[in-house]
């Protein structure tokens, strides 16, 4: 310990070991060790700011020797720009000294002998000896801590920058998605309008063709050659019309404008009418039989949707069965449900295709050469969904059975009877 005028021996009386007071000599030794070996810099200045004591750590911290600062001004340890102001601060402290951390809220800096500047923390205390005021400072080099803090700040900043960048990217991506979605919606609407317009516009000339073909058939009378071609044209026009109707139906379902329009109908006559219409599609020797089980025949349902379901299931049976095979439509009513079953003895549905059968535009791998849109069963299922019905099937080569089931009376439906007025 270096101090002008000898050691401040009164310190020794204040030091205690675990089992009592240190002897003066030991206490002085302890104080010296504390002062000399402390990692922080310790410095004592007099009232004029002259350094009268320093420990080795302080010397190392500022690039001076172990005693190189004795006699120097404390302002020598500050960057030049701060010296004047520090002088004023020191004067103020001397007038009203308190134990405190120095420069709270300020960034304190020290200046090494080589002129380099580094951040530091200072704790101040004062004491009087022999009527003179001394100020002691504990100085800590916080370069590493500040570097770590700076690093943390930079890391935080980088993180924030990255978050901001990612957010911007996400916003951009979201905007892109929204634009793509809008575009998709626009295209879908365009497609819908086109399909609806095209289907509608195609149906009108087809209807005219059908009318003219009927007249040609009638004018041709018994001429079998004309009759054969008339029948062929009629068949193809029907196919085209059915395809267009499927596109239109799907479009209407997807637009959500299809609503169940219930009416009281006799299921037997509905089925016979459907079969009478479909008989023209049957191949040579194909039979289409119909039977109904039970006396109850009246159902409250949507006749258009039901007609579409029967037509689709029976015409599929016709299409995918060979000549000279039987097709059977069966209806039954029981426990408040209407059950329709269509059985054919055709090629069957391959097992691997069965799970996709009701998907839009799906066509079985064994029917690619047979005309179809892949929409029929999808529409059937959607109509059944709308009416609270279900559909199932079993299939193997040689026999396929489709079973549709729906409420005998659609719940809470307003009744519209297109046929009969009330009777006695």
């Amino acid at each position: 310990m270096s101090a002008p005028g000898g050691h401040p021996t009164y310190l020794a009386g204040m030091l205690r070991s675990a089992d009592g007071l240190f002897a003066d000599s030991d206490a002085n030794r302890v104080c010296e060790l504390l002062f000399m070996t402390a990692a922080e810099g310790l410095v004592v200045v007099d009232a004029s700011g002259r350094i009268i004591m320093q420990n080795p750590s302080l010397g190392r911290m500022f690039g001076y020797g172990p005693e190189g600062l004795i006699g120097a001004s404390i302002e020598d340890l500050l960057p030049e720009a701060m010296r004047t102001r520090h002088h004023a601060h020191r004067e103020a402290y001397n007038r009203k000294p308190v134990q405190r951390a120095m420069g709270r809220g300020l960034e304190l800096k020290g200046r090494r002998q080589d002129g380099s500047v580094f951040p530091l923390e200072v704790s101040l205390n004062h004491f009087d000896v022999g009527g003179k005021r001394y100020v002691m400072a504990l100085v800590t080099d916080i370069t590493l801590r500040r570097m770590a803090e700076d690093q943390l700040v930079r890391a935080n900043q980088e993180l924030e920058d990255r978050v901001e960048q990612r957010t911007a990217e996400l916003r951009e991506a979201e905007g892109g998605l929204r634009r793509a979605l809008d575009k998709e919606r626009e295209l879908h609407a365009l497609k819908s309008r086109f399909v609806a317009m095209a289907s509608h516009e195609f149906r009108t000339p087809l209807s005219t063709i059908m009318g003219s073909v009927d007249l040609i058939g009638r004018y041709a009378g018994e001429d079998e050659r004309v009759g054969k071609h008339v029948k062929r044209i009629r068949g193809k026009v029907r196919e085209l019309t059915a395809m267009l109707n499927e596109f239109l139906s799907l479009e209407r379902i997807e637009q959500g404008i299809v609503q169940v329009q219930p009416a009281e109908i006799d299921i037997v006559h509905q089925c016979i009418e459907q079969i009478e219409e479909l008989r023209g599609l049957a191949k040579t020797g194909q039979s289409i039989d119909y039977d109904h089980a039970g006396d109850d025949r009246m159902v409250l349902t949507d006749p258009q949707m039901l007609g579409h379901i029967i037509t689709n299931l029976v015409s599929n049976a016709v299409k995918y069965s060979p000549e000279h095979t039987a097709i059977r439509l069966h209806s039954a009513i029981g426990e408040g449900r209407l059950r329709l079953t269509v059985t054919d003895h055709g090629m069957g549905i391959p097992a691997e295709d069965q799970q996709h059968l009701f998907d839009r535009f799906f066509r079985g791998s064994n029917v690619m050469t047979i005309q179809g849109t892949g929409l029929g069963l999808n529409i059937v299922k959607r109509y059944l969904d709308l009416m609270g019905g279900t559909i199932a099937f079993t299939s193997r080569p040689g026999e396929t059975i489709f079973s549709a089931e729906l409420p005998q009376r659609i719940a809470n439906a307003p009744v519209k009877n297109p046929d009969a007025p009330s009777l006695p």
């Binding site: 006559h269 009478e276 049957a282 039977d291």
Partner: protein, 171 residues
């Protein structure tokens, strides 16, 4: 004294409901003098196929109005009703009756033209037959079945196979 004519559909249905013996239905229909306008609420027209509209049905009988656009026809068919009476209401229909032949196919047995106002009611029971509206106007018939049908069997006129579907080219 001639029997009292039946002049409305409601009256016809009441008469039929009173009678449980199908053999008496013919006599009831002989008294039929219902004006066509009384049936008009049951008329339905469809450009793709003829239509069948039920007026009344119970466990003994079924009364239908059948509407044909010009050129429309039924398939060649039969059904499980024991007896059917067909009464022309409007236009003209032709009934063709067929019989299966041993070498396959169907043979046309007879044709009968039915027009309103003539002695024209037809009883065809469970025969194999079809109806055609030869045109040029629309045609309507009133059909009475005893008992109500629940089976419909279509014959293929090309192959003659019983219980077979499609009709051939227009005749």
């Amino acid at each position: 004294m001639s029997p009292k004519p039946i002049e409305s559909i409601n009256e016809l249905v009441r008469e039929l409901l009173r009678q449980r013996d199908p053999s008496a239905y013919g006599a009831i229909l002989e008294r039929y003098e219902v004006p066509t306008r009384d049936l008009e609420p049951y008329f339905r027209w469809n450009s793709r196929h003829y239509t069948r509209t039920c007026i009344h049905r119970n466990e003994y009988f079924e009364l239908l109005v059948i509407c044909y656009e010009p050129g429309q026809r039924t398939s060649i068919h039969d059904y499980d009703s024991q007896t059917a009476w067909i009464h022309p209401v409007m236009g003209e229909v032709v009934e063709e009756r067929y019989a299966p032949i041993s070498e396959g196919g169907l043979r046309l047995l007879q044709e009968k033209h039915l027009r309103p106002g003539a002695d024209d009611s037809l009883t065809n029971g469970n025969s194999i037959h079809r109806f055609i509206n030869p045109g040029p106007g629309r045609a309507v018939t009133l059909n009475l079945y005893a008992r109500p049908m629940s089976k419909w069997r279509v014959y293929d006129e090309r192959t003659g196979i019983v219980s077979v579907g499609p009709a051939g080219p227009p005749r």
